[in-house]
């Protein structure tokens, strides 16, 4: 299982719709300060419902809508879609033909039923009130239902698989009981 693509619409510094295709294995995201790197990770957390607005450096959820949009229409909207490829085995089942694992022919025809598309849409009215909805493969789900499904893929809301900017040493400063509870979860 891996993330095949992240699609951002009017999310923070991303205007319009931006699609970011991702490969399995090791990808680095680099670029100048302030260009939008951390915003991509914020988009991931937003979509999977695994961070509060504080974790995405926004005072309130409506701050996540691209600023240029807020001046225009009555209702503005931002949405993020994360597509998981369930089909790819990890590690690739035939390591000796590495070429295939890298996205050549077989990957292109991956069976759409072996994909999960998670979408979160945030609508903000002129008065500042907002609604936020989650969808799994097009069908509306609650956050709890989404988290149950993600648990099947071993994606946990408090999972240690996401480390935000500046947080790398937070495991050292957390209290020892909380650290022990991490092992409880895994057991």
């Amino acid at each position: 299982v891996h993330i095949k693509e992240i699609e951002l619409s009017n999310f923070k510094s991303f205007g319009g719709t931006t699609r970011i295709p991702l490969m399995p294995e090791f990808t680095v995201v680099s670029g100048p300060n302030g260009s939008g790197k951390s915003n991509i990770l914020d988009a991931l957390l937003f979509c999977l419902g695994i961070a509060s607005s504080k974790g995405m450096r926004a005072e309130r959820l409506p701050d996540l809508v691209n600023h240029n949009q807020t001046n225009r229409k009555s209702t503005v909207e931002t949405s993020v879609t994360v597509t998981f490829d369930l089909g790819s085995e990890f590690p690739p089942s035939h390591p000796n033909n590495d070429n295939n694992g890298n996205g050549s022919q077989p990957e292109e025809e991956s069976d759409p039923s072996l994909e999960w598309r998670v979408t979160r849409r945030l609508r903000v009215t002129k008065t500042g009130s907002y609604t936020s909805n989650y969808y799994l493969n097009g069908e509306a789900v609650t956050l709890t239902e989404l988290h149950e499904k993600l648990n099947e893929l071993r994606i946990y809301p408090e999972g240690y698989n996401v480390v935000l900017q500046g947080d790398v040493t937070s495991i050292i400063s957390m209290n020892p009981r909380e650290r022990r509870e991490i092992i409880d979860e895994l057991a």
């Binding site: 891996h2 090791f26 100048p32 260009s35 790197k37 893929l153 071993r154 994606i155 947080d167 040493t169």
Partner: protein
């Protein structure tokens, strides 16, 4: 339940020792504050980077703390991998040699799970299989460029 915890703890502890030795050239292990009653105790990370005598976690340097924390995260991963890992500038306290070591470790762990790593450091960019460039011209939106990785010039 106790059995399951014991099994998890032993596996993660063993992973932590191996990974910490590779990243920090020292020895480290996990310690429960009360072995008899694990569900009531805390978990401490005992780490001696480069063979230094016992020290409290809080008196470690920024780089040493980062490598200790990352060793723990990788130790958890080896026991129960998540499908993806997203790290945002986890190499910011590290000197050049440690960024190299960390990037090799990530490249190795990435055979088991997807790693998306935001970094500004050259050794990290050079070890990745693929680089995504991000930029924002004055007054414009963020643009994303996919780059097939060859030896590219990057910021230091």
């Amino acid at each position: 339940r106790l059995q399951a915890f014991k099994e998890a703890f032993d596996a993660v502890n063993e992973n932590f020792s191996t990974i910490f030795a590779e990243l920090s050239q020292g020895d480290g292990y996990l310690q429960l504050s009360d072995e008899e009653d694990p569900f009531n105790s805390g978990l401490n990370l005992v780490a001696h980077p480069k063979g230094k005598p016992v020290q409290r976690l809080a008196s470690m340097s920024g780089g040493e703390k980062s490598l200790t924390a990352l060793s723990f995260i990788f130790a958890l991963q080896r026991y129960r991998p998540s499908p993806f890992y997203a790290f945002d500038e986890v190499d910011m306290f590290l000197d050049g040699a440690n960024v190299e070591r960390l990037s090799k470790m990530i490249a190795h762990q990435a055979l088991q799970a997807q790693f998306i790593v935001v970094s500004l450091r050259r050794p990290m960019i050079e070890s990745a299989k693929r680089t995504i460039g991000v930029t924002q011209a004055r007054g414009a939106y963020t643009q994303v460029l996919g780059l097939k990785l060859q030896h590219q010039e990057s910021s230091s």
